[in-house]
Amino acid sequence: MIKKAALRYLGYGSQKASQQVEILLDECIEEIKQTAQPKAAAALFHLDHEPLCIHETGDLIPGKQMEELLADCEKCLLTGGTLGTAMERKIKMYEKVNMTKAVVMDAAASAYLEVFCDEYEENLGFPDRTYRACPGYGDFPIEFNKKIAKILDVSKKLGISMTESGLMIPQKSMLGVVGIGNTGRKKNCRDCVREKDCPFRKRGERCYEIE
């Protein structure tokens, strides 16, 4: 799972990676397991509709795609996850002495974070939920990261710090919104906010099998 996603991030679609790259990728995943300090947090909130906002804090959730995604949801989870600063340091270190490894590790760490966050979400006890929508995709503005960061207090809880421009440090971090309720919206390419402008799909690849 991690391997497959990492290869996709590196640009491999249907093509097979060389044995050299396969070995390097395995090595990177092993090192990530040793280095990363994965940590996640979540909190449950009610949703108000028209306009869509978080009931408890009054924060508007902007974007048409989010409106569609959460249309049938009364509640939502705000979630955050990170691989920690040691992971960041490791990738930076390889950027200085072995750029090839740095690039492969960067992709593998992204995939690792994705899988870790999925598992965390799975275990929160909400079987009926939408996929995780993250600011910065589609018309869900990246600035919303700052709101989630503040509400979840991720700087204290997870050590994620937000730059003024709305970027997260450590870079291998994720903030997202998950609708609670049976909306039939699972993770798949058809329901993805980037369905129409997905760079992977342009190359004939896909992130999810359509059920």
């Binding site: 093509q15 990676a17 050299q20 300090q37 449950l44 040691a86 340091r89 930076k92 072995n98 710090s161």
Partner: protein
Amino acid sequence: MLRDRIGKELLIFDGAMGTQLQKAGLGAGDIPEELNIEQPELLKKIHKSYLEAGADFVTTNTFGCNCLKMAEAKYEAEEMLQAAVKNAKEARREAGREQDAYIALDIGPIGQLLEPMGTLTFDEAYEIIKKQIMAVKDQVDVVLFETMSDLYEVKAGVLAVKENTDLPVFVTMTFEENGRTLSGNDPETFVNVAEGLGVDALGVNCSLGPKELKPIISRILNEASVPVILQPNAGLPCLEHGETHYHVTPEEYVEEMKGYMEEGAAIAGGCCGTTPEFIRQLAQAAPKMTAPRAVKKKTKTSGPTQTVVFGDKVIVCGERLNPTGKKKMKQALLDERYEELVVEAIRQEEAGAQVLDVNVGLPGIDEPETMKKVIKMLQEVVTVPLQIDSSSPEAIEKACRYYNGKPIINSVNGKDEVMDAVFPIVRKYGGVVIGLTLDEGIPLKAEERFEIAKKIIKKAEEYGIGKEDIIIDCLTLTASAQQKEVKETLRAMKMVKELGVHTVLGVSNVSFGLPNRPLLNRTFLTLAMEAGLDLPIINPLDKELMGTIDAFHVLFYKDIDSQIYIRNQSRETIKKEPSEKTSFGLRDVIMHGLKDEVEAAVREKLSQKEPLAVINEEIIPALDDVGKDYETGKIFLPQLIQSAETTKMAFEIIKGSFALKEGEEKGPVLMATVEGDIHDIGKNIVKVVLESYGYRVIDLGKDVKIEDVVEANRKYHPKAIGLSALMTTTVASMERTIQALRADGCQVPVWVGGAVLTADIAQDIGADYYTEDAMASVNLLEKILK
């Protein structure tokens, strides 16, 4: 006086503030500090309830009250700070505890990650914290830094208190279940660095419950010489349907805490989930006095996330970050190509160095500024402690201030004026200092060097620096010049060890001017280790020398069951000899990115052709093939970079054998990831690929200020400037950078790239070119710089 009581009487801190405010209706995302002004009665009530429960401290409701976090608050941070202290003082008066309870100014993390991971500089952090302190410093009794997760921020904070007030300072950090803070600091490193900075009490808060914190608390109680403060949560936070709950009862909490107080904790309180009832029961159960603890003083040096303890085993200090006698490093320092030092540091760490000596002393450079820059860059990727090597007190002070850890300082000697200049720095920032046994010259006899060692130790004591923070260097003499005195060094070392201090030597001095230096070095090292050498300063890339240490540890029963020896040396014997010949031609080596074979392949070609022909007839065609394969989707990013790195190595070998003439090197080009953007892997990829095509790239790094790009353009006169930005939010900063360059009269073509950029956006923001990826950048520059 508070300082007279801590560590003697057992004192009680209050419990959670946030938990109480949430009960009173504070919602997620609300700003608790605003209540200091809006609901003073509520705050006073909470403070009073803790005082009445038996707390000796009132913690002000100012956890996040800094100008950054309070940017969106209704009031100024200063106003809220003053209101908070006023509430605390009034509560104390109303509770009748003005004589024996203390107001603790609460300071939590700034909420922005410090450099090198983050963008907040050490100086900015210092100023932010200083503002908080200055607003109320005359009205509080102690400053409490709590829930800290970054030791570097702790350092900025403690310095801000110490340089601006005489107030006592307490520091508590919060640890994860893996025994580290979110920034990776472990308890031993925290204790070593915080004690070095002179905190009055330190400990752990928040994190976990008192039971789960046991391993961390034990480690702190074992290490800390100063009083220990404990404020755990009321158990592990449990997320139930999206809400956080704590399940430990006051009785269970106090039961665990009693154990820690018996082991010598000096101050006890509570964090998230605790209530006045917890504190009441805690105060009742607490003994009146702090239980004594015996803590053994040890020599310890720390990097940001790890501590090296001197003791049984020999510790290797890498010597290679030093321009003396190294032409390449000298040039790198003069050209400000500090990246090369960073690479050298990583190599030494990978080879097994546990400490790295850093010397940037060169005529004609600003040593303090260079030291600061290099230390900051090393800290980004190197985790072993650094040894600051300079004869300039200004450079030492700069390095100590910006260093994230407790460094070794190299060095003082027996001269009073040197000790008077350096010891105050060691005392202020914390450090382990090396004392050279020389004064006007190097005494020939062991006895004289021993006397100087005693003098250094005595003088250090006058400055409040204990023996555990001193390492003595008995000075290696050169066998070719002073053969008779070589063994005096060993004799002096044996004597010095009797004083109860550790020892250091620069080993390779012994062999200057004689053939087969490694043989002399490792023989001398063996003798020195037997005489009690703890910290040899050596070249860790010399495997035989490193192996000598492994062997010594086996033979002196320091490597129990020869575990380390077996691990290191069995790897050595099975490793095949590096091949001098390769079965692949240079073109294949580059196409397949075979880094291990590139040297042999280049040398083979160089024996057949002129260097320039090797470049033009072998390297460039191979690279072109790689580029084509990448563009047509036959190979992918990892292979492209692998080939580029291999080519870069080939260029370095060729450059080593002949100097490129003017015009044969392409560029230079300037590259930067723009201000506000920290994602620079894309730019680094482009850089490696450009370098493989022979371009000289001046890399300004990430989050580069607009004025720094402008200045670099003036300084280096590049042929092109490449800017990268990842997000829509930082494209604006890219546009401002281009405007500033143009306003400064820069005519050089600017090309841009990054995830959200398109050719249209590039045009809108005034860039000359847009490139989609690394290959496109090469193609562009090949075209426009012809």
